[in-house]
Symmetry: none
Subunit: 204 residues, 4 copies
DNA sequence: TATGAATGAGTGTTCATTCAT
DNA sequence: CATGAATGAACACTCATTCAT
């Protein structure tokens, strides 16, 4: 008597999730290139061959992990209403970004290592670039909407939301990069306190 | 007529330098893992075997490259007197950092990819961490010496030079990371202009 | 209402036939080694595991296919009465062979590829050799029975039916081999016309 | 002191020849698909990795073997003046082909197995088809030049050199195929004797 | 010192076969 | 009887490293 459809799906989901989980961790820990498929299989508690029932290749697995992580991040990252504050400031946004980064640590560690390695990047076929572009354009919207970063600035300072967005991106990216590199020791709240005075100006 | 000692040494230095140069470029272009020793030898114009007369292993070569780059950076990066301005501001420092990053592009690209990959990082045995620590403490000195970032801030804001240094580090690191990832298209000067108002307060 | 014994057997035969059919086609198209069991199962519309209820192994399946094909061929190939002519000539025989080869194309393609690969041949355990031997002895009978190939030949030419059979076999084999290799473009009728004058002498 | 250029070349030639020899034999014995690179290396007495210093891939090795064999065959096969007879007949040509086939046994065994396996054939990228075409057109020239196969035939039989060439090709191919399949037991001379009467008509 | 041929452990991937259900 | 998830041994191929010369 064969298994039911549901039983099969449950088995699949379990194995699939185990593989993705193991690979996510290992890619984040050791990088894509240094992670052997055999190591992924061992950590996932399955045979090496089984991985290929779920993912056509190691590259394909990377893509799947990236897209899953990206979806999770999208669900939470760029949704201002979820920040809690009724009228969130840029500061709230930055703080939120850092918190979510910590939550999705291994995804971000993976993203950072991918961005630093053109060779591996290509395996994702433009996905990471799109992803950066998306963040950047979202930040542009925020910057355009927000008060000037320096409220005291004289009126004749010409605003440049695109450049401001890049700056903000660099700032957040830098903090988050340091954060995922030393998640246990990074003094996030103190660093954020330094930022607060500049970015309390309202947005949206 | 046999070669003199000096001639031999000159040849050695030449080969050594050629290897380091070739490997630096290739590591930056393709990443450490994806660069074959044979490719390094080919680009350096020497035989594969000869590399092992100069460097005990591929890892050893990585260490050598890092240390050479680091030395060069040290020679130029953290020496405020070379910034040109008589009384350089934090802004001058940041600007200087960006310019030097562009100058040492492949070194920085390598550093960024190393920092993102704990596994490869270990091959350098703590050197990168030391390096980060050094930059951080230098920045702390600057921050402590400089006026508050927000000169208009009310007097009761408690300064925290360590956190400020981390923030500054994140900012510079973020910008430089983006810079080396898209050296040709990054709008550096515009981004810097956004920064100028905040960091014109004197230092040193 | 439980299925009757007959229904079960009918289902079995159906599955079995589907597997054999799918495998025949695929082996002929792609060769034995390049055909995956999964591909056979997919084309046959059954699960991979089920194949092993009917055939102990991929090799066993090959044997089954060969024997089925061989049986079909025997049923039609060497039966002179089916050639249509009342007193068939060697030419009729050759023509008939070619026509039947076209009809059983994938079987013959398989046979040709098997004969060219000693390693795969062994999996059939002498079956192909027996098969060749059978054809050869049949041809010997024909040659012995037929008039000399060259009716004008002087009487003192000593007949050698065994060698003539081998020659005839080579000729038919060669034509049929070319035929199955390019079934759509091979100018069979023209080639046969060239043969006709020599092999019109009666047999049987 | 490095080896001289000549020494290197000698080493290369030796290893290369050993690989080609081993692979030729194994491909002929077991077929391309069933021959593992490790088996080639073992028979050649070298390490598996070394093969890739000489051939980019297993496919590449196959191509090299085919082209080498083909060159050797070309050097001897289609050169009528080398047949010995002053005015060679089609029979001389056929006989010569058989003798040369025996001489280049493993090449021909390889060719036959390749022709029977479309999948492997593609790896040679049209080379085998060209090769067949070449033989065929050479045979056409011979057939057109030769007297009618049946000199006694009445004058009104229309000659068709293209079809005759295909027939001749099939005949030779068939004999040679059987020959390489049972090189030790095939009664070549007896078979040839059967052929002699028909193909003594002069050519060229 | 300098060469590049040679090695062998390691990689990602495939696939015939098994088995719990 | 029937399923397809799971296995593991094989495969082609890569590459850091060694070594005779």
């Amino acid at each position: 008597m064969p298994r039911t459809q549901k039983q099969f799906e449950a088995m699949q989901d379990e194995s699939r999730a185990a593989i993705v989980q193991a690979a996510s961790e290992l890619f984040a820990e050791q990088g894509f290139a240094h992670t052997a498929v055999s190591a992924i299989a061992k950590r996932a508690g399955i045979s090496q061959g089984l991985m290929y029932n779920y993912f056509a290749s190691k590259d394909d697995l990377l893509v799947a992990i990236f897209e899953k992580g990206w979806k999770e991040v999208q669900d939470s990252f760029l949704v201002p209403t979820r920040m809690g504050a009724e009228k969130p400031s840029l500061f709230d946004f930055i703080e939120n970004a850092c918190i979510l980064t910590l939550k999705h640590q291994s995804f971000w560690r993976l993203v950072h290592s991918l961005r630093a390695q053109p060779a591996t990047l290509e395996r994702l076929g433009g996905r990471v670039q799109e992803f950066e572009q998306l963040i950047l354009s979202q930040l542009e919207v925020f910057c355009a909407a927000s008060e000037p970063v320096l409220p005291h600035a004289v009126a004749n300072i010409k605003r440049n939301p695109q450049a401001e967005a890049r700056l903000l991106f660099a700032l957040i990216d830098g903090i988050c990069m340091h954060l995922v590199q030393q998640p246990d020791t990074y003094p996030l709240s103190e660093v954020l306190e330094c930022l607060r005075p500049q970015y309390q100006s309202r947005l949206l």
